[in-house]
């Protein structure tokens, strides 16, 4: 089986992925898989999805040559895939449109979602409003505090936001709670999972919906530069923006795929969210992948300046791409991400999301080591307006 044909029929990417959930959810996942496989190749469904992406999201998103920043770094040329220009300000909407359309075809009137930074929650609340569905968003109580503007945004869009007080009160706990809701309301409810993780078929269908990023880039880069980039770079939390860019590039063997995890206060400090860089395989949230866990298999608390990367697992396809060596995974620290955040503001007039700033930070490290004719394509997965409070606070400024 070719790498880009994965997962197999039971949702495995090599030893990763699969369906590790309580019996109560098995039928719902099966129903979802059947519905998706039927619609996936249905031209009418694909046309509907494409229409929404064009007219509602504003796709295709442009690719922009960050020329001043590249000059300053003094090496490879950095190009940005502008997912930050999408409606709602991040790549998350690509997936929520796809899943909302699926929900509609399946006759589900209520949607639920988990969210970390709030981007996926906003994107879910948005599509729920767009298609006239009830929406409930679970968000760790810690993240509710960190991301107040997004909480209000979701409420404006008509969503009920439920702060989750259990565990570490972050994204993983929001996911647990969303799963609990789904188990309880499985017949009426569609769970819009926000990243390319969770039980099969989620890693597959989220990837498929996000592949619009890489599919566009594959056409845009030759138009703009006459060729494909030398490397594509994306931040990896759960890994949906990265897989959406990487997957279409799997066939170009000369293109390096580089995923950037959240190194937090440094891998050595233990306070990070980099399971591919420093974790071990295990089972969490319905799938097998690399996890941040202790020797006894308990999930450990993660740290990142960016709420959207603050997750102890990672999508199973990334785990497989790591093991096979097709993709490289690195980590950058909070400080490095913040420096890249400020650089992009000052040199390009673009305020990037703190998540995306991790990918930018690695590009800033890599570019100076490469010749000026080399090309790096960075996925600017979201805009940073939501992060200005966090950044101000770190600088000791209260807004």
């Amino acid at each position: 089986m070719q790498m880009h044909d994965l997962p197999d029929a039971r949702g495995h990417f090599g030893p990763y992925g699969g369906v590790f959930v309580a019996e109560t959810l098995m039928a719902a996942l099966d129903e979802l898989k059947t519905a998706y496989l039927k619609l996936k190749d249905d031209p009418a469904f694909q046309a509907e999805f494409a229409y929404e992406l064009k007219h509602y999201v504003g796709r295709p998103s442009p690719i922009y040559h960050a020329r001043r920043w590249s000059d300053k770094l003094g090496g490879a040329q950095i190009y940005l895939k502008r997912e930050d220009l999408n409606h709602t300000g991040a790549h998350k909407i690509n997936n929520t449109i796809g899943q909302a359309l699926l929900a509609r075809h399946m006759g589900k009137k209520r949607v639920i979602a988990e969210t970390g930074a709030g981007q996926h929650g906003v994107a879910s609340a948005t599509v729920a409003a767009r298609y006239g569905m009830e929406s409930v968003v679970y968000m760790g109580a810690e993240d509710v505090k960190r991301q107040a503007p997004n909480v209000f945004r979701m409420k404006l869009l008509g969503a009920t936001v439920v702060p989750v007080e259990s565990g570490s009160r972050t994204l993983k706990d929001a996911l647990n709670e969303a799963m609990r809701d789904w188990v309880t309301n499985v017949e009426s409810t569609f769970y819009i999972l926000g990243t390319a993780a969770g039980p099969h078929p989620y890693p597959m269908l989220v990837r498929d919906f996000q592949c619009v990023i890489g599919n566009e880039a594959k056409v845009q880069m030759p138009e703009l530069t006459g060729r494909q980039p030398d490397a594509v770079i994306a931040c990896v939390g759960g890994g949906s923006n990265a897989i959406g860019l990487f997957h279409p590039y799997l066939e170009f063997e000369a293109v390096r795929l580089i995923g950037v995890e959240a190194g937090g206060r440094g891998i050595a400090s233990g306070q990070h969210a980099a399971p591919l860089s420093a974790g071990t395989p295990g089972v969490l949230h319905g799938f097998r992948s690399y996890l941040m866990q202790d020797a006894d298999g308990q999930i450990i608390e993660t740290h990142s300046v960016s709420a959207g990367l603050d997750y102890p697992g990672v999508g199973p396809e990334h785990a497989w791409l790591k093991d096979t060596g097709r993709a490289e995974y690195v980590a950058v620290n909070d400080d490095e991400a913040l420096a890249a955040f400020h650089d992009l503001c000052r040199y390009e007039g673009i305020i990037p999301a703190l998540e995306s700033s991790h990918a930018l930070a690695y590009a800033a490290k890599l570019a100076p080591t490469l010749a000026r004719d080399k090309i790096l394509l960075v996925n600017l997965s979201g805009r940073g307006d939501k992060d200005i409070n966090t950044v101000a606070q770190l600088a000791g400024i209260s807004l």
Partner: protein, 272 residues
């Protein structure tokens, strides 16, 4: 014959139904778990379900989540839970013990080491909430080599087409989750249970336990009219949570005894 099979055979001969209480190992503190297990038996438990604490108990409601957090605050590991069973076995050779928990602590320990140590300690069955049969082949094969019973769940949403696949891997008994939702939620629908159990029995000749949503002796007794075993979890964990430390064992024993009495009274009235 496994200790679980033997227990069900004995109960059947006596015309009684099994009472299976659940507690989380290490809750409220590690030193109380073995005394609590003995208290459960004294109260009338036939089989003990011992929860292995996990940081992300996705299928559990708030009560059992909190019990897991209390146990983890004491750093209770899977190995410690197995050691607790070994201590319980020093003075109880007859009551089957089923470990109930999530896949990851077992994955971290490794199948072989887990099975060997669990068996040596006197564990009888293992229920892993997030190992559906589709992902459990390798694990259940290893359990079987070590004569440990893999316990599987059926739920109200389990389609007819999956019943055989589950029944093929299950040993000891099967567990029917009597409501859609997490542990401790809502109230169970007796009519639904009554409708589903014959379907399960048509595909699976193991004893059927029913759990999730059983909160009092009366409901337990009514479920026992339909099932071979009654599983009570959150209600007992709540008793543990609300009792002063020195009263925990006595209060739990009293509650279990009240359920036992209701089951036996009902069985006496309605011979099966």
């Amino acid at each position: 014959m496994s200790r679980i099979a033997q227990k069900f055979a004995e109960l059947k001969a006596q015309g009684r139904k099994a009472l299976i209480p659940f507690i989380t190992a290490g809750d409220p503190e590690p030193g109380l778990t073995v005394p609590l297990m003995h208290a459960l038996v004294e109260g009338g438990a036939d089989i003990i379900e011992l929860g292995v604490p996990f940081s992300d108990p996705m299928a559990d409601g708030p009560t059992i989540q909190r019990s897991s957090e209390r146990a983890l605050a004491h750093k209770v590991r899977l190995r410690d839970v197995i050691a607790m069973v070994a201590r319980f076995r020093q003075t109880n050779a007859g009551t089957p013990v089923v470990l109930m928990g999530y896949a990851n602590p077992i994955e971290a320990m490794g199948y072989e080491l887990f099975c060997r140590e669990a068996r040596a300690a006197g564990v009888d069955g293992v229920l892993t909430v997030d190992y559906p049969p589709e992902e459990a082949d390798a694990f259940t094969a290893r359990l079987a080599e070590h004569e440990l019973d893999p316990i599987f769940l059926f739920s109200p949403t389990t389609p007819e087409s999956r019943l055989d696949a589950i029944a093929r891997q299950a040993r000891g008994f099967v567990y029917y989750v009597s409501l859609k939702g997490v542990t401790g939620a809502g109230h169970l629908d007796l009519a639904e249970v009554a409708a589903k159990l014959p379907r399960i029995r048509a595909h699976c000749n193991l004893p059927v336990g029913v759990g999730f949503g059983i909160r009092d002796a009366e409901t337990a007794a009514r479920v026992a009219e339909l099932a071979d075993a009654v599983v009570i979890g959150s209600r007992i964990v709540q008793e543990i949570e609300q009792s002063p430390r020195e009263r925990v064992s006595d209060n739990v024993k009293q509650f279990v005894a009240s359920v036992r009495a209701a089951l036996d009274k009902r069985q006496a009235e309605v011979p099966s």
